[in-house]
């Protein structure tokens, strides 16, 4: 019993460090794919790790008008994103603390990290920080409701709001083609692009002032603080990829009662799917242009409408959609 508990505890811990470990690699894959598709050599796959190591070695330059909130926020944002990322089932569904936060709480945890980041963007009192925060919150008012509706739809399908329970449900019942699930998938992809500041919502590599959103918010950060913010956004990308995997392609994931073998299979499957997802993101990003900021409501609004139709269908069928 005790041994079982320890193993479970270790598995939970492994999950926490696994997401942290793989997040920069996923970003590296996306960047590499983008580079190769545009006929560039591209940075090595481990560039994400190198970037963070470099930033950690640099001194941190704080603006004179920065308050304590500016210095504290990166730690909290990183911790919130990390915990949220660790709560999404990756290689196994029935981990020890999977019950602590359900899908609704997961959306809210990410919301908390975003609110802190937007506040930090306003803290120094520059026009760029403000522009980033204000646009980020505007996009969030469209993306977050869509996200909430998506997770509610899936929760209705699975009969539980626990992420592990939803994953278990989709492992046990092979995914049939259902209109509301297809719509949810489409909506979740759009939300994931918006939340991770990817093309066409935002361009993660640009510093062209008038188009940036996320980068404008974190413009004043440097050194270890920037390293944490960057790591948090890598984690967030991993989180959304894991979420897509766990909800729509859960095959290979170890069920609640699996032992070491199941976990190993799950780990391999999850890593492969994660990197495949990152590569697909790269392909997507080279094949589409960034949108103007005020075209975004239309784009993210599509996710909201998809998600709304999905949940409406789920309700009208009395919850029997999965």
């Amino acid at each position: 019993m005790t041994r079982d508990l320890i193993v479970q505890f270790l598995a939970q811990g492994a999950q926490m460090f696994l997401v942290l470990l793989l997040a920069p690699l996923a970003v590296g894959v996306t960047r590499r794919v983008k580079a190769r598709l545009t006929r560039r050599q591209g940075a090595p796959l481990i560039q994400g790790y190198l970037d963070i190591a470099k930033l950690l070695r640099k001194e941190s330059v704080l603006a004179e008008s920065a308050s304590w909130l500016f210095r504290t926020a990166p730690y909290l944002i990183f911790a919130l994103t990390w915990v949220a990322a660790a709560l999404v089932p990756s290689f196994a569904s029935g981990l020890m603390f999977n019950w602590a936060a359900d899908v609704v709480a997961l959306v809210a945890l990410l919301g908390a990290a975003r609110a802190l980041l937007a506040l930090a963007g306003m803290d120094v009192g520059t026009s760029f920080g403000g522009i980033g925060s204000s646009r980020e919150m505007m996009i969030a008012t469209l993306a977050e409701p869509a996200m909430m509706l998506i997770v509610l739809t899936l929760a209705i399908a699975a009969g539980t709001t626990r992420l592990a329970g939803v994953a278990d449900h989709f492992i046990a019942e092979p995914l049939a083609v259902r209109v509301s699930l297809a719509l949810s998938l489409g909506a979740l992809v759009i939300v994931a692009l918006a939340e991770n500041a990817r093309i066409p919502v935002d361009n993660p590599v640009t510093h062209l002032e008038l188009t940036m959103v996320h980068e404008a918010m974190v413009l004043e950060y440097s050194g270890r603080h920037l390293a944490l913010i960057e790591a948090a956004s890598m984690l967030k990308l991993t989180l959304y990829l894991s979420l897509l995997i766990c909800l729509f392609a859960p095959f290979g994931m170890a069920p609640a009662s699996a032992g070491l073998v199941g976990w190993t299979v799950g780990l391999v499957a999850w890593t492969a799917k994660l990197l495949l997802g990152a590569a697909l993101l790269g392909v997507w990003e080279v094949s589409i242009a960034k949108m103007r900021v005020f075209r975004l409501p239309d784009f993210v609004g599509v996710a909201f409408v998809f998600a709304f139709i999905a949940i409406l269908l789920a309700y009208l069928s009395g919850g029997d959609i999965g």
């Binding site: 704080l62 009192g125 646009r135 539980t160 919850g319």
Partner: protein, 667 residues
């Protein structure tokens, strides 16, 4: 009965404090210590009743002749009593920090205890007469508090509108109780409870209760007075009006719809959930576009009242269909949100009062950088802002989570209209949650962060200790309420079972004692304590590791701002500029927002102007149009005052003929 006598004594203390303060100016400073004493006693009695579940009744030989005044304190009244007296306590402690010479006036201080006593009396009333009398006392005393700064034309306008809406509300409640009493005219709540109302009467009563209680709570379209009146009062009174008086309105609705009106029918649910959801979204859209700190808070009160009405409506729908547990989840969400909102809204209004006190300003675009000049207030306000944005692990999220859980039970409902309505409501709730975060990031970001935009903001100083204590205690409650959601829910369980027929799974059926379980632990669990622990551990580990491995030097320098930092604080984003994307996205739909840029002609070095026009359709349709119609009608009728005697005689004769012919026809 000693507990009820203690309440009576406390109420007498409040009345006495009011009387003393009217008589002598020296007694003004006694008002708040006495109010603290009374609130402690009243709160203790309420807590005792809530925890033990006893029902205290009594009747006094005052009030109507031969009937007297019936008083009753059951767990529902007691719960709302805890909410109210908590708010009164916080506001009174805060007011101990007011300056005796400068801030205390005979226009405000005598009315404060009267207002507090009236709100308590509404809860104690056990007949329609007592309820309406104390309801009116509450309206009038709060009206007098709004009009305290009568030299300000804005205040006068606000108080006038408030008075009109309060009269409409009470008239509606009069009809509601008339319908409840039935032809026999039994005005005591016991008599009303004894028989269930006919469906037609029930519809009438429900509509009247929604108008009566909705107008007090700010349900759209009866909201227009609230964002004017709540900010116009002194800040500690604003805290009471927004944090607490709106809860008395909720109490009125719960008392009528869940208790007096008998077993619910499913269609009772539709008006509250539809109006509540519209209120939640529109209230925030107003809030996110407004530039006045206190008015933003008042609009956000409207939003929260909307959320509570949605939860109450869902509870009615589930209860009518026999889903007791889902009804319990929804009702717990409503009651917890009542409690939570009273905490964070009081905190935010007291914080706004502190800002107003320190800077003399409440326009967001004139503040900035207060996190450095008022560090304590800034921390407390931050807790309140994050809590009201429903972010975990604070208390606002607990009720939000329960509300979403009850929305998720919607597919069980057999009625097609509810099945259509509930997902739409869920979408609007999600939108409201996201807008709330945007709204409060904007408020906090412009008022407390950045650089000071005016001299007043730069010279601000933190407020006296008493005010810090009041805000700090409320901030602590917001944190504790977030972590201890499950124990709080189990305290409310007996009350919830009385009015919904079901209850949440007992505390302890989840993985830890702090796990909030909505239906069963395999289905939905939220454990704020474990999440908070995880986040705390993760932050600490990060902090330690980063400080070990990283370069720890930190240098202060000018802001980078892409290479072009501007020393003038005017170049910062303001509240208006922050709202611009939201205005473009939502304002164009909801308020027909238009932006016009007037450029000077080429060669002219004059300034360009950006003008924004917004149309308040609700005001136009529900206030300006009827108001204009009444005025036009009055002008027409005015003609009747200037007729000749012959014409008046003709009119009287015509009236006589008409009346006689009616009499002839009807007999």
């Amino acid at each position: 009965m000693p507990a009820l006598y203690a309440s009576g004594a406390a109420l007498a203390v409040l009345a006495g404090a009011a009387g003393l303060a009217i008589l002598t100016r020296g007694a003004l400073r006694l008002v708040y210590p006495l109010a603290i004493l009374a609130a402690l006693v009243l709160g203790a009695v309420d807590l005792h009743v809530l925890l033990t579940g006893v029902v205290l009744t009594d009747s006094l030989p005052i009030g109507l002749p031969t009937i007297g005044l019936r008083l009753r304190l059951d767990s529902l009244s007691a719960f709302f009593g805890v909410v109210i007296n908590g708010g009164v306590l916080a506001a009174s402690v805060y007011s101990l920090g007011l300056d005796h010479e400068k801030d205390l006036t005979p226009r405000v201080e005598p009315l404060f205890p009267l207002f507090a006593a009236a709100m308590n009396l509404v809860l104690l009333a056990d007949d329609a007469y007592g309820f309406l009398f104390s309801w009116e006392l509450m309206s009038l005393s709060s009206w007098a508090l709004v009009v305290a700064r009568h030299t300000d034309p804005e205040s006068r306008r606000a108080s006038h509108l408030y008075l009109v809406m309060a009269v409409i509300g009470t008239t509606a409640l009069l009809f509601a109780f008339g319908g409840l009493a039935g032809p026999a005219g039994g005005y005591s709540f016991d008599t009303i409870r004894a028989h269930a109302a006919q469906p037609a009467i029930a519809a009438l009563v429900l509509a009247a209760a929604l108008i009566g209680c909705g107008s007090k709570g700010g349900l759209i379209p009866l909201h227009a007075w609230l964002p004017l009146a709540h900010p116009a009062a002194p800040s500690h009174v604003s805290a009471l009006m927004s944090g607490v008086m709106t809860k008395v309105a909720i109490y009125g609705f719960v008392r009528i719809a869940f208790d007096l009106l008998g077993p619910p029918a499913w269609w009772w649910a539709l008006p509250p959930i539809v109006l509540g959801a519209i209120t939640a979204v529109l209230g925030l859209l107003y809030a996110v576009l407004d530039r006045d700190l206190k008015r933003v808070l008042a609009y956000s009160t409207i939003e929260n009242v909307g959320l509570i009405f949605v939860a109450l409506g869902l509870a009615l729908a589930f209860r009518a269909n026999g889903f007791a547990q889902a009804a319990a989840v929804a009702l717990t969400a409503a009651l917890l949100h009542v409690l939570n909102h009273s905490w964070f809204k009081s905190l935010l209004f007291l914080g706004a009062g502190a800002v107003l006190h320190a800077t003399g300003r409440r326009d967001l675009d004139g503040l900035g950088g207060l996190i450095r000049t008022m560090p304590r207030t800034a921390i407390f306000f931050l807790v309140g802002a994050l809590a009201i944005s429903a972010l975990p692990p604070l208390n606002g999220f607990v009720s939000e989570w329960l509300l979403f859980q009850s929305v998720l039970a919607g597919p069980m409902l057999p009625q097609a209209s509810l099945r259509f309505a509930v997902p739409a409501i869920g979408a609007m709730l999600a939108l409201a949650a996201a807008l709330a975060a945007a709204c409060f990031v904007r408020v906090y970001g412009t008022a407390f962060l950045g650089r000071p935009r005016t001299v007043e903001a730069a010279r601000a100083h933190d407020v006296p200790l008493a005010q810090q204590v009041a805000m700090g205690a409320l901030a602590l409650l917001c944190i504790l309420g977030g972590l201890l959601g499950a124990p709080l829910a189990s305290v409310l369980a007996p009350l919830v079972r009385t009015f919904s027929g079901g209850m949440l799974p007992a505390s302890g059926s989840g993985p830890t004692p702090f796990s909030l379980v909505a239906f069963d632990s395999a289905r939905s669990v939220y454990d704020a304590a474990v999440i908070a622990l995880f986040v705390a551990i993760a932050s600490l580990v990060t902090l330690v590791v980063v400080h070990r491995v990283s370069e720890r030097r930190t240098r202060r320098g000018p802001a980078w701002d892409c290479g072009f930092p501007d020393p003038s604080p005017v170049t910062q984003y303001t509240a208006s500029s922050f709202a611009q994307p939201l205005r473009r996205v939502y304002g164009t739909v909801a308020f027909s927002a238009r932006e016009t840029v007037t450029m000077p002609p080429p060669g002219d070095r004059g300034t360009a102007r950006l003008q924004v026009s917004l149309v308040d359709y609700l005001w136009r349709v529900f206030y300006a149009a009827p108001g204009g119609a009444v005025l036009r009608l009055a002008e027409r009728l005015n003609m009747l005052q200037f007729l000749t005697i012959r014409r008046y005689l003709v009119l009287m004769f015509a009236a006589l003929v008409i009346l006689l012919s009616i009499a002839a026809v009807t007999t």
